[in-house]
């Protein structure tokens, strides 16, 4: 057995062949089976297998994109559970984006934010208010609801409004010492929820506990996107942009400054890194991802109310980040996928399975203990187990690996960075900084 594994590990073409075969098999079973959660999950698993193969990066991305854009939708399309599958896939996309946002705050900058769902809420309500008649209550100009055409602008708008909230939240909060930061952000998250819940008087801005309904669906070229499979592609594009942005940040001055601040604030300052500004950037960017997806969520669900934005949700996303691997992009993606599917599909399936077992008289599980209700229990247990035994997560964060050949070649000019003092071997370069 070991010999076979070693052989696979060594041979790229073998890996490719096996992977393609696996994808074909799972998509085929998805197409044939009427409604099989297992087949769907197995197809999603192919992403994980893809990650571990030793194929060159460009081909991994090509295969991954092919699965995301064609194979998955196509296979799911053949059966009656099409919208269900796409719904789950869309939800995964939304949560992966948020988890990546929280990953920047918690994983990279080391700031434990327990109120993260607030930015999601901000994005959702930003679109929700203007895409329903709600805005008429307080806006001095314009008629509402805005048509779904404005959805696309609102994605950008939601991004910036959430970022703004991130900064506003950050400014007071970041002066607070490490552990307290968690409590304070938790407090803020709750405050936002309570405020949204009560903003129906004196001026009705959020419609309070009643929520906003009939939110305008996205509209493009005159076509309304009402179905999950359509929203799926919207989510996919935003998600890909977010992944691209996060990877760029990881290998940049800003990403490094976050890691420095996380590891040793005093040393980071001594290197010229402004603490507050750096932390605010982390908050703002993390928040902006959630804000964008909040807009999409509102459009997709067509109804939002404060109960969608509770502490449980914030913890949800935290579990994703911890489970996957703090600071690790592939880890967080995996973690988000696992937790979302757990919530959306697996718990339901487990409950139905237990129900069938009890009708068959094999075991009786009291209703109070049905898996669907035991969400907190599972989260709590997962958090504890992973914190104790695998705090680095399923796919631990890996350091950036540099290839000295790439930067030592004299490509690019022999320019030097502007300096205050320079080694005397080059000429004195007292151009001030």
């Amino acid at each position: 057995m070991k010999k076979i594994l070693d052989q696979i590990r060594g041979n790229k073409w073998l890996q490719l062949g096996l992977l393609v075969g696996y994808i074909a098999l799972t998509s085929l079973s998805l197409i044939l089976a009427q409604r099989s959660v297992a087949a769907f999950l197995l197809l999603l698993l192919s992403f994980l297998l893809l990650y571990y193969t030793k194929l060159p990066n460009w081909s991994k991305w090509a295969i991954g994109l092919a699965i995301m854009f064609f194979i998955l939708p196509f296979s799911a399309m053949q059966g009656p559970a099409y919208q269900e599958y796409m719904d789950v896939a869309t939800l995964v996309g939304i949560y992966v984006s948020m988890a990546l946002g929280l990953n920047i705050v918690v994983g990279m900058a080391g700031l434990l934010d327990l109120g993260f769902v607030a930015f999601f809420a901000v994005g959702a309500y930003t679109y929700g208010i203007f895409a329903t008649a709600q805005a008429n209550n307080f806006m001095p100009f314009g008629t509402y609801p805005l048509s779904g055409n404005s959805f696309w602008i609102f994605i950008i708008l939601g991004c910036f409004v959430a970022a703004l909230f991130g900064v506003l939240l950050g400014i007071p909060v970041l002066r607070v010492k490490g552990d307290y930061l968690a409590i304070v952000t938790l407090g803020f998250g709750e405050i936002i929820r309570i405020v949204f819940n009560n903003m129906d008087q004196p001026v009705n801005i959020t419609n309070g506990a009643l929520g906003l309904s009939s939110i305008a669906p996205p509209k493009i070229f005159g076509i309304e996107l009402l179905y999950s499979n359509q929203i799926y592609f919207v989510v996919l594009f935003i998600l890909l942009f977010i992944i691209f942005a996060v990877r760029s940040l990881e290998h940049s001055k800003l990403g490094r400054s976050w890691k420095a601040v996380r590891e040793n604030e005093i040393a980071a300052q001594a290197m010229g890194i402004p603490l507050v500004k750096t932390k605010l950037m982390a908050f703002a960017i993390g928040a902006s991802f959630s804000g964008m997806m909040g807009v999409v969520f509102a459009a997709k669900q067509a109804f939002i109310d404060p109960t969608s934005f509770t502490l449980l949700q914030s913890i949800n996303i935290l579990v994703m980040v911890l489970l996957g691997g703090m600071g690790s992009v592939p880890g967080v993606i995996l973690g988000a996928a696992v937790v979302t599917i757990l919530n959306a599909q697996v718990l339901n399936e487990l409950t139905m399975w237990f129900n069938s077992l009890s009708t068959a008289g094999i075991i009786t599980l009291p209703d109070a203990m049905s898996p669907v209700k035991m969400q907190r229990f599972f989260f709590g247990a997962l958090l504890i187990l992973f914190a104790l035994y695998r705090s680095k997560g399923l796919i631990p964060a890996k350091n950036v690996v540099y290839d000295k050949r790439k930067f030592l070649s004299e490509k690019g000019t022999k320019k030097r960075l502007q300096s205050v003092a320079a080694p005397k071997e080059d000429e004195h370069d007292h151009t001030g900084s």
Partner: protein, 318 residues
């Protein structure tokens, strides 16, 4: 303005009751933080567990017929001791299983574990309760029904009970911490763990005792809460815990007297807000915002005076 004045006596009474409860729960937070520099997120749940265990014991005793026969004070004492003992052990167990292995780990991870424990406890209580009686909201039988009426003021007997027991507990803790050997050991470990161990203090034992005492008190407070307010659910620990933590920070985290003061102060402020917020802000903010009020205080204190009212600013060695 007259509304403020009129409601003041009732606000005082309710505020003191709530404040006493906050104060004792705050003690649990502050003691653990003083020793381990850890925010025991699950402490609120210990309080909640105490409320449920106490209720269960009380219902059991009622079933046995003891309640009808014996004086209420005695029953209360019995319930407090049993519940305190059980929650104390629960707290100790949590420290042993979930926190001790992570002593060397980063604060982030320990905090996350605490959150996990918190969630776990909430759900365990929920499904046990729900399995028993189809609903996770429980009504606690009242041990001290009835009330006094003094010049138009309605003072429930249970209020007196809560206040007196709370004060007794606080006095007992003061004595324990300042006048006993164990208390001295606790203070030593809180100051400097390594040196204390060099002075042959068994640090692990001291930490266990700290958790036991804090949790026992928290659990006992849960009983008081259940008896006074009558209705409990698995989620009371969360909000109350958060506010008690606010109280601990307000008073100066790690400072026991500060926690007591902070608790009382917060209770009074909150009741005041609940009664008068609408009037003061001319209807802009309803009393729903009283929770926001507590959070706002927390945030303000942490920003402008993180060492609290009675604490001393800590200086990090560079």
């Amino acid at each position: 303005m007259t509304q403020v004045w009129d409601t003041l006596p009732q606000v005082l009474i309710d505020g003191l009751t709530l404040g006493a409860i906050y104060a004792i729960i705050a003690l649990g937070y502050t003691m653990v933080y003083g020793i381990l520099e850890l925010i025991n997120f699950a402490h609120g749940e210990i309080f909640m567990a105490g409320a449920f265990i106490g209720t269960a014991v009380l219902i059991g005793l009622t079933g046995l017929g003891w309640v009808a026969v014996m004086p209420a004070i005695f029953i209360l004492l019995l319930v407090l001791v049993i519940t305190g003992g059980l929650t104390g052990m629960l707290g100790m167990g949590i420290e042993r299983l979930a926190y001790r292995p992570l002593r060397k780990a980063s604060k982030l991870i320990t905090l996350i574990t605490a959150i996990g424990v918190s969630f776990l406890l909430q759900d365990i209580v929920r499904f046990i309760t729900e399995t028993q009686q189809n609903n996770y909201i429980v009504n606690t039988p009242s041990l001290f029904p009835g009330s006094l009426s003094i010049s138009g003021l309605n003072i429930r007997y249970s209020f007196l009970v809560v206040i007196i027991v709370a004060i007794l507990m606080m006095v007992a803790l003061e004595f324990f911490v300042n006048r006993t050997k164990w208390g001295l050991a606790m203070r030593a470990v809180a100051q400097d763990q390594d040196t204390a161990s060099l002075m042959s203090v068994n640090v692990n034992k001291v930490i266990s005792v700290t958790f036991f005492v804090g949790s026992a008190l928290g659990g006992a407070t849960g009983v008081l809460f259940a008896i006074h307010y009558g209705t409990i659910d698995p989620y009371i620990g969360f909000i109350l815990g958060l506010k008690a933590f606010t109280a601990a920070v307000l008073g100066g985290i790690g400072n026991i007297r500060g926690a007591m003061a902070g608790g009382m102060l917060l209770g009074l402020l909150e009741m005041f807000a609940a009664a008068n917020l609408s009037a003061i802000t001319a209807g802009l903010l309803s009393s729903e915002y009283k929770d926001v009020f507590a959070f706002a205080i927390l945030i303000l204190v942490l920003i402008f005076r993180p060492e609290g009212l009675f604490g001393r600013a800590a200086i990090e060695k560079v």
